[in-house]
Each structure stands twice: as structure tokens, then as C-alpha cells.
Symmetry: D2
């Protein structure tokens, strides 16, 4: 940390702050510039310490020089994390495709979608049993019944299952069914849920919050890692901006940036990221070219009958075509699929 | 709803869409412009119906002409909601002040803060027992122990208590202690929590999410109202923008806007809204002048020792002075305090 | 400035950077933490120097500890700037009201508006002769003819005139007519224009850009001040956010913040700031309570016939009522009007 | 356009609005829903008409059903615009690469950069003679002297030249030197400049404003097209969001979106879009995969000595390597280079 003193702070002011720092167990280096004194603080970054210092009237600001994430960061963990599942690995050389409908609507719809995405080349099937919905008057998901259908999908197709968990108390139940447990954007900072997920030993797909900075996103991962669960997959799904033509603004620069800052795998959800199925193919190719480890795509046997997010869902045919088109892109950046 | 057909959509396309609408139980009015046909849809707004239509290739967009909130809206509930508590009412002519520390740190700190804010004129005491924190390495709150201290505060000072609930399973426990139950910004779209709060009969203070639109905020209130709990207080606490000099951008225009759209009371939290204690007095006055029904302000006996949010906390003296200065502003807009 | 070295930077790396700094004429203070070395740089802040350093692979980031504005800042100019005009002063104890239509549409409309706003208590008349419009198919302003009508307004009513200048080449012409020259939000970073305005000796009203940070806004003022024109009035008019219910989000916290950082007067434009005339009264009161030095408000004799921005314009009656209601608010924060 | 009447608007209210519409020359279709009447308006979209209507108290909102851009839109111009230059074409099957330093610093630097980017495969050389800078204390560009150096570059290397114009009065001068005239992000809504560019017959590279919506960007293009200059190239260079780790958020979804809405070519500037040279390669690949027609990349012989934007500049070696790596990506999406 660096403490920047106020313009006009005198020796007494500086002494008061350095005393405080020493009380807190920090070492200090003074550096007096033309207009200001700055204090280099030797010791671990602590948010509380920074706030204490910023509340002192002599202090103008406290600047952090280290990132707040430790376990999620690449500094002390230079090698990529590769998550090995039974039939797939995530974060290695091979790309992973997760596909399926936004919401589970019934047994038939689900199995039809699952067969189609499997045939097209997906390894992981997605489908929401528990659905967070903006309106209380919207379809809220089949909940437990939906999990049963997902079990059928796995039994029949052999696809791996990813599905969303909505609170800490259903983690066990969802973990029984899912191969990968998804944390939705609205729950990225649900810390009770994150801590519970730190206790299990299954991969967690952590979606970036709608207006979460990359630092906050990695700190949410840090909660899970800090609990002892090292299998975290990050998923960028668009951030909220002023642009109204797209549902969200897909922040693809998060891919190379996360790859620099962190060892965790990162995948892209172009369906929520754009909100329009006709933008999904271009953004999927862009995501692979940018270095994403995989894609999560909404596919529905009949988007016009979908109970949720039809406008952003591909048909199975469109998905198959996209997978075919992605092969060349993957090859061009040295990835297998 | 209005369905806007694609440029170039022919009679067959229009027929396909109107058939679909009729299948869904809607009435239709066709209107053919120079470049496009639009279909006026007669019947209840339904998000699912809109998505179904938008997924049809003949349709360019679906436009809603009614707001999605019903119970929270003023259209069918023109009179202001006034929440009557034992020693205060919220949403009527009188302003309400809620004050206290961000986090409960111990018995002594809490009682000292409580006596100070009571003396200064606050009716409601705020203090967090359960704390959502960005970093797993930060102080996470005293939890149940904190609730006990809050009980002591009420017993000793007679202040009403507002405190945050973090999940649906502690609603009962928090409701036993709190006179008003707070939903934090990160939980504004935690629908399980909102539904649980719909079942109780205590006032809920619903903070606006960091990047929630006003419509989404009112829809979150709708979840609670829809459960049968009509005592919802809205609290604006700053939204996330590109401006780095303030922690958040306090959106004061939410006050007159919510007053037009909704009958629910709305208060302002200038402490989180700005992040700097020296901006709190000016923004508190602005909030009252804009028509807010009250304020929620962080006050700490010693901000430099606070375990959370010291830089944005007022000292008791600063709070007392602010309350004094607010009297004239309140009077100038016809409010009592 | 502070240079933060990369994690793992060795002595050689540090030496390379300190040599570079010394070459650039800076003094250095080294401070070695547990994980990183930081270098305190003694000397003037220079953006170019920071960029040079950031381009070095050994450097993680460069942090500024001083603000980039000098002339606009309060540090070296602690007293408020008060701009004295013939019949009014801006930035002192008295509030200033600027009112009038968005665009000048004709002689009659303008004089009618001018008489009305004068009678209601405005000292300054606003009206756009040169209009920046998003669409090439919209009304683009009366240009020179409009300036003549403004001259008539001044002659007949004695009101001071504020009007927008669109480029550096019409500064002279506009300055002949206007008592205060307005720089619109879209031109806040038109540096040629700002430099030209630095050469004249008339007050400049500098609107904040739609997505300008407060720092960038003060740097735009710095361009004018650096040219020798010290009469700059800042005007907040809403920033672009994700919220669709308002045209912009009026950032009222800019008022107390600018007052801390700078000695320049700051006024508020609640008409553009909200986009809805029915939000203007509440936000005007809030602005005065927050400490603004004045208001700029759109008033049109007949908003339903306005060629520009009718939905956000008050009628003369509404404006008169607002001015009456503002008196108490002004009094409550110790301001005259 | 569609006019949505207020809840509770009666027959008289509707009659007043339809009368107004007929006065303005519009046809009307009434459609009465359960809660509201909506009026389908037949005739050309006009912003002024919409504002007039929105200023009527009986009207809740006016909704546009057509896009405001006509000449820039694909509806009436379905085929892609391809701009043929002497040695390159833009918007066709072949990708175009524009590269060079942010600012022209001197003859030697410029020629060195030009030779390097030519050798690597760029067809167009970029370099700023006129520089918009946030601070008046930063290097402001070599201006006319810089244009001379650009002439030398063309003469010696045969590269095409793109350089920025800052106001309408230097359009002629810049057009003499440049093969493509660039409008910077800060000038995207400088309408005098856009109109002047409508009068010339040289390609214009129109950068998206920092917080411009895609609609506003296409409307800026509309100004140029409306003047008779049909050679407009759109360039996405990042938008302003809350994310601090990148300088801007590169909105790659603009590529497929603009391709749907418009016939104009669109290229990507990953240097400004990210602000960090180490993110440029990944985002360049992503841009090509998303369907961009080309790239504009900052290349400096020695980024650590650059007077502007060193941290986001590639070295010539890095640029050469990137061009090599792009070949496979281009091939995979059917583009030549």
C-alpha cells in the first residue's frame, strides 16, 4: 500500500500516520515530493487498514500496489489450472462447448435438445432448473423436477451436466446432479453461496456479475478457492453499459486479461452476452480467437416456443453449423476441438 | 404490447404472427405504415409472450406500452403508502433518519453510537450484523452476536432497529430483532429472499442494486408486495458509473421519478452513495430538497477505528450538525422533522 | 508519481527504471515491500513521462499522487472565483438563474420567453442559435439570425445573454452577442475551441461532457484558464449511464466535489440532466440544496410547439412557480436570490 | 412512430393527439387496449414531431419503429459498400491493416515506423499530426510539419495514409495529404466537421465516440453520407464503462451488429480499445474472427520513447508476428489478407 498525504500535511501529520501504521504492524518508507509526502507501506494488503487510513483527515488517499486476489492470481500460481472431468478437460488445449436451453421446460424438450447438442459436438449440457427471473409473474423454473430431467439427460446421452444453484442450501442437491455447478451473474457476490461452494469438490462455473469489475469477479473466485475448492471456471456473459441495441456488452478483452492475471480457465457466454441469436456465431468465433477455453451457448429445439430467452437461442441446426465453422478458428489459434 | 414487423414482411408473415397472438389469447389491431406493419396487442403484458414473438424471424421487435410492475405502481394505487411504526411513520409528512455504524463491532461501540444518533434526532438505528464483503479476507460481521447487541440498543435507547438480512433462512431470526429488515444492494435480485420477505409482516428496506434500473428495482419490490407484504421502503444508494472520484454516483433523480411511478416511500443513503463523509452533508440536503422521505447515514463514534467504511462515516458531532442544518431544508419543502 | 515495479523485478530492473527517471530529470525514493518495489518519483507530474514508464516491461503501473489540474485546482487558489457581470455575479453568495428555450425559433417566441423568464426572476437568458443535433434531418438552429434576436432580447429586456459557440472560428461573433459563452457537452474536449476561448475575456460556461470524468472536465477548464481567461463557470448536465427512464443521470455529487477540488463556480442544468420537465422542479431544489451556484433551465412559451427539447421545457408559469419555491431552499442553505 | 397515451386518457385526449398528428400531416390508426390507447402513426419518422407529442400531457411516450438512419442503413441499400483505393479496397473480401504510431514525433521515427509496418504487411500508414490531448500540458502534435512527414512516407513507401482532422477548416489541407481522413472519437458529433466531410470525395474513417450508441454513430455517418460522400469506414475503438483494468471496453459485438444494420465497412482499433499492448494480439484475432473488415493498430519503433500512448503500442517485431498469426484466423472466416 501507499499512503498519499494531503497537500500541506506537516511533519506532525506524517508522524501521526506512521505511528498508526506501526501500531497496525506495518513497516514504512517516507518519500517527500515537491507538493506531498507519500508513505510506502511494507506488509500485507488489508482493506480494513486502508479504510482506517483513509478516514484520517491528514490522508488524501491510499493506493494499493498489489492485487487483492492471492489464490486466484497468477503471481503465486504461474501454471494454468486445468480441470479434468470424466470425459473432458477445461483450461487445457481442448475447447469445451456447453450448450442447451436457458430453462428446463419438460422432459421431451430437454432430451431433444440434449441429443441435438451432443450430435453437434457439445460435451456439456446446460439447462436451468432454478431460474432467477426479474418479474415475479414469469416462469420460475421446474426446480427439483428439472434436476430429475437432467439426470435422465446424463443417463441417456452421457453428456456432462452444468446447472445453476441459487442458494447455499441447495448446493448439495444440485451437486448430486451436476458435474459443474453454475453460479449466476446475480449471485456472483452471494458470499454465503460462494463459501458453501468452497467446501465441495466439484467444479464451479462462476459467471461475472452484470456490473462486476474483473477484480471483483476474481475476488468472488477467491472466496471459493479460499474454502479449498480449486476448480473454478470463470464465465464472461456481458456487462451492463449504455448501449441499448444489445442486451449486454460482451467484454471479450476479459479473456486475455484474465489469462494474464489468473491461472483459472475462462469461457464465454455469447447468448446472454448479446441477447440476439444472430450475433452469437460472430461472437463465438471472436471468443475462440481471443483465447477463451470454451463457450456456453443457448440452444433450444424451438426458440419460438421457449419459455425463457428464445430470442437469443440457436436452433440445433444453427448450433451444428456454428460448431463446424469454429473448427478453423480453433485451429488458427492452436486449439483442439 | 406492440409487435413491430420486419421491413419487407408480407401478408403471410403478418398472418403467422397474428395467428400466434390469437393462440396466446391476445386480441390484435393491425396498422400498416409506409415501411412497416405494426400490430397492437390487446391483453396482459407477459414477458414470455414477448420473447416468443421476438424469436420469430418476421418480427423486428416487441415494444411494451405498460410498465411491468402492478402492485408497486401508482396507476392502480394512487395514494402514497405510509408505513406506521410504533414511534415513527415513513412516507408521510415527517422525515425519517436512520443512522449508525456500517458494521457492528462490539457492544460498547454500538451503544455509544446509538446514544449519539438518538440525541441528534435519529429515530432508527442502523448497524450490520451480517456483512457482505468483497474480500474473503475482510471482517465479515459479528452475525448472531451482533443481533444481540442490537436488541440491547433498542432496550436501552428505544430506537427502532434496521439491519440487513443476507438470505431467506435467517429472515425469521432477523425479523425478531429488527423493526425494519434491510435487503442490501447485492441481494436486490435474490428472489428467494424477496419471496420469503413477502411472507412476513414487517417493513422491508429494499436497496437499489449497484447497476439496477429503476424498473428492475420496482420489480424487486413487486416480488415482496406480491407475497402480501405491502410495507416496502425503497432506498437509493448510488449506481455504478465510469466516474472514479466517487464510490458510486448517487442518482437523486430516482426520488421524483419513483414518486411518480410508485406509491412506495423512498429514502436516500448518501454514505454509500458517495463514499466520502465530506460529501454526505451536501447530498443529504439535496436528497431532502428532492423530496426523499428520509435518510440513512453512517455514523461511527470513531471513523478512524471503524472496521468497515470509515471514510464515509460521520462522527456523532458531524451528524448532529447535519441534522440541525437539515431543518431549514425540510421546512422549505414542507416536510416535518 | 509512484512507479510500481512488477512482482519479481530484480535490482537490475529497478536500476533501469531509476536511470530512466533520472534521465527525465526526476528524483527517486526506493521502497521495497514484501512483494514489490515501488519508486517514489520527485518532480512535476507529466503524462508523457508516465506513459514512457508504463511502456517499460519492468513496470506494472504508474500511479499519480497529484491531480493533473493546477490552475483549476483549489490547492494553489484556495479562494472561490466570483465572476462579476454587469447585473449579476456568479460564484458568490447570490444564486444565478439562466432560463430560456433550447433553440431560438423566431423573434416572437424568443421575446415572449425572455419577458416571461425575466419577470419570474432570471438574470440570464439562454437560447441556442447554433444547435448540435444528432440527426442531420433535425432543425439545426437559426445561426446568425438567432444571434440578432438575442441582441434584441438584451436591448429590450436588459437580460444577460448566454448562448452556445460551436467552433473556434465563430468565437468572436458569438462573443459580440453573448455575455457568457457556452461550450456544449459535445464540445467539452474540442481543444481548438477551448484554446480560442482562453484568449478572450468573457465568461465561459463549460458543460460537462456526456461521459467525461470530473477530472477530464476540470482539465478542459484548465485549457481555458491556461490561455489566460480565468472566468470559467462549470455546468453539470447529466452523465450517460445504463438507466433508461431518464435521458441522463444528473450527477449532483459533482457540486460538492467540484467545490472541494476547484475554486470555480458550478451550476446545474436539470433540464438536460433529466430530460423530463416534471423532474425539473425537484432536481432544481436538490441542486440548490447541494450548494450549486445557480441553475440553467429550459423554459418555452409553448413546449408542445418547441422545435427542440419540448418534453424537458417548463412553461413560464411553471418556471415562475419553481423560482418561488426555490426561495426557501436557498435561504435554508444561506444563499440569496 | 407509435404514440402511447396515458393510462386514463379519455376520448377527448385521444382526439386532441390525433388532431395534432393530422395537422402535422400524419395518418393515424387507433388501437385501444385494456389499459391504454395506442396510436399507430403513418408517415416519416421525425424527431421534432416526437418531441412535440411527448410534450403533450396526454401522451406517455412515443416509440419509434424505424431506425433514424436511412442512407447508412441496410434496408434501402442491401449490398455492402466497398471502398476502392489505389492499392487496396476496404469492405470487400480482403482485410485491411492500418498501422503506425499514435503521434508523429519526427521524420526519422515516422519513416522507421512506416518501413516496418509496410514490411509486415500493412497497406495503410497511420500517424497523428493534429492530436487531441486531455491535458494542455501534453504534447499537442506537430500539426502541419507532421503532414509533410506523412507525404514523405507515402512518397518513399507507397503506403496509403490515414490521419486525423480536427476541425472543418483544415479538411482541405488534410485531404491533400491523406488517402483516408480520420475523425477521432471526440469529434464524432462535431457536426460542422461531418458536414464538411460530406462535401469531399475521399474516404472518411469515423471513430465511434467514447460513449456513443451504435445508433448515434450511424447517425454521424448519416451526416457525411447526406452530404454526398458515400465513402465512410466505421471504426470501433472501445467505449467507456466502469471497468478500470482496461482503458476502454472494446465492443466487438458492434461488428456483427453494424454489419446487420448498415452496408458500411467496419474496422477495429484494439490499441485504444484496450490501452495495453499485451491485449492487442488477442483482440485483433477476435476482431477478425467477428467479421471486421480490418484493423487499426498502433506500432512504434520504440514504445518506451513514444510521446503518446506508448503503453498500447506494439513494436514492429510484435506487429509482424501478429500479422503472421492473423493469417490463419482470416482464412478460417473466409477472408483474404
Amino acid at each position: 500500500m501507499i499512503v498519499v498525504m494531503n497537500h500541506g500535511a506537516g511533519e506532525d501529520d506524517v508522524a501521526r500516520v506512521t505511528d498508526k501504521l506501526k501500531d497496525m504492524g506495518y513497516g514504512v518508507h517516507l518519500s517527500s515530493g515537491e507538493n506531498r509526502t507519500i508513505i510506502g507501506v511494507i506488509g500485507q494488503r488489508r482493506e480494513e487498514a486502508a479504510q482506517t487510513l483513509e478516514a484520517m483527515p491528514e490522508v488524501e488517499q491510499v493506493v494499493f500496489v498489489t492485487r487483492p486476489f492471492k489464490l486466484a492470481g497468477r503471481e503465486f500460481h504461474p501454471d494454468d489450472t486445468v480441470i479434468d472431468l470424466d470425459k473432458a478437460s477445461i483450461g487445457g488445449n481442448e475447447l469445451i462447448f456447453m450448450a442447451g436451453p436457458c430453462a428446463i421446460e419438460g422432459e421431451e424438450q430437454l432430451l431433444e435438445a440434449a441429443r441435438a447438442v451432443k450430435e453437434a459436438g457439445a460435451r456439456v449440457f446446460r439447462g436451468g432448473a432454478f431460474k432467477p427471473r426479474t418479474s415475479p409473474y414469469s416462469f420460475q423454473g421446474l426446480e427439483r423436477e428439472g434436476l430429475q430431467y437432467l439426470n435422465q439427460v446424463r443417463d441417456e446421452t452421457g453428456l456432462l451436466i452444468v446447472t445453476e444453484v441459487m442458494d447455499q442450501f441447495t448446493v448439495g442437491e444440485v451437486a448430486e446432479c451436476a458435474d459443474i455447478i453454475q453460479v449466476g451473474a446475480r449471485n456472483m457476490q452471494n458470499y454465503y453461496l460462494l463459501r458453501e461452494l468452497g467446501k465441495i469438490r466439484k467444479p464451479v462455473l462462476l459467471k461475472r456479475g452484470l456490473s462486476a469489475t474483473i477484480e471483483e469477479w476474481l475476488m468472488a473466485a477467491e472466496y471459493i478457492l479460499n474454502g479449498g475448492n480449486y476448480q473454478v471456471i470463470l464465465c464472461e456473459r456481458g456487462i451492463r453499459t449504455f448501449e441499448p441495441y444489445t442486451r449486454n456488452t460482451l467484454d471479450l478483452s476479459a479473456v486475455p486479461l484474465v489469462k494474464q492475471l489468473s491461472h483459472l480457465p475462462v469461457i464465454i457466454d455469447p447468448s446472454h452476452g448479446t441477447g440476439h441469436s444472430n450475433l452469437v456465431p460472430a461472437m463465438s468465433k471472436a471468443a475462440v480467437a481471443a483465447g477463451a477455453d470454451g463457450l456456453m451457448i443457448e440452444v433450444h429445439p424451438n426458440p419460438q416456443e421457449a419459455l425463457s430467452d428464445g430470442p437469443q437461442s440457436l436452433t440445433p441446426q444453427q448450433f451444428r453449423q456454428l460448431i463446424n465453422e469454429l473448427k478453423g478458428v480453433a485451429l488458427s489459434v492452436g486449439r483442439l476441438m
